[in-house]
Symmetry: C2
Subunit: 201 residues, 2 copies
């Protein structure tokens, strides 16, 4: 699967070369919350590995690796620790690669650099106006008043309240608020006739 | 790509066998309107092919093939005319296979045996009730009155007005009416306050 594997198997048929082959990389998922990816954080990972002494005897050790998660990192970002795999005679230890994974969030869905939240509103609120509250990933409380008519595809965009952009964390994506409009289950004949008059063009 | 191809290429390395190989099948799309697939129809297809005389000399002919399209046939249905490909010495002519394709329809989308139509209604109609008209694929006019509140995911099901079921054309799928609710672009403060009162729980 890896180029290193192919190289390694070629090497087996040849006389011992002075250049030892390298073990294939070891990949490990690193689940992060959306809060951690928003604010950035430092994760300390304890790893267990074998190291070899001068005589070639191996012994297990534990090591702490520090990973500096930058604000705005995305799922799939790779952090490589070169040669942090097990040491064995005549083999260059594997690279250890952590791959950022994004834990599902209760409130937000990430779409690229944007954050998307869906708010449930009543039909009366959708038509007559509504104020919604959103708690940001760094704990601030946003209050957004919408006086437009909210239709089923309506999106309220709050600029720069999305995820930070890793190359320039002073810039941010947008927060997009979508709406799930709860219609009344039923209406009386009286309500129906009034609504008809009220909404008549 | 076809099993016949593989068999054919094996044959090349062997001494001439008494069993001639068969040319790979020839496939041809047969676009049908939803009306044709609803009612069933007969299609006459003119094909051009080469036939061989006793001496092995080939000459072009035209032939009319009759395809009996059964009510309810689906996209992908195959109709095979065995050995209707070109005749050549020492080769069994290819099978000619027609594959039903479904032309897009202006009104209906087919979902399995169901037909789905989307009707645009105003918010007032969605709330106060509406009568919609649907012309079926065999030209009948259906009138459907909806007094339920129509919310964005609402579906009105009209039983047995979908596509016929090929194995038993007396049975049919359903007609499902979906709704695209057109909200007012804006409302006055007066309208908003009245709606709020009207829809208050």
């Amino acid at each position: 699967m890896f180029g290193d594997d192919i190289f390694g198997s070629f090497g087996n048929g040849r006389p011992m070369s002075s250049a030892p082959s390298k073990a294939p990389p070891v990949e490990k998922a690193l689940p992060c919350s959306l809060e951690e990816l928003y604010k950035g954080t430092t994760k300390k990972m304890k790893i267990s590995r074998e190291i070899a002494d001068a005589s070639g005897k191996t012994l297990p050790i534990e090591e702490i690796l520090t990973i500096d998660i930058k604000p705005g990192w995305k799922k799939g970002t790779k952090i490589t620790f070169p040669e942090k795999g097990n040491e064995q005679p005549n083999v260059i230890p594997a690279d250890l690669i952590f791959i950022i994974d994004e834990k599902p969030h209760n409130t937000f869905i990430r779409e690229g650099n944007d954050l998307v939240v869906t708010k449930k509103v009543s039909l009366a609120e959708a038509l007559a106006g509504v104020t919604v509250h959103v708690t940001t990933l760094d704990g601030r409380s946003l209050t957004i008043t919408i006086n437009n008519v909210i239709h089923p595809d309506y999106e309220e965009v709050v600029p720069k309240e999305g995820m930070p952009i890793p190359k320039d964390p002073s810039r941010k994506g947008n927060l997009r608020i979508k709406f799930n409009i709860k219609f009344p289950a039923g209406l009386t004949a009286e309500q129906k006739s009034r609504i008809k008059k009220l909404l008549a063009p």
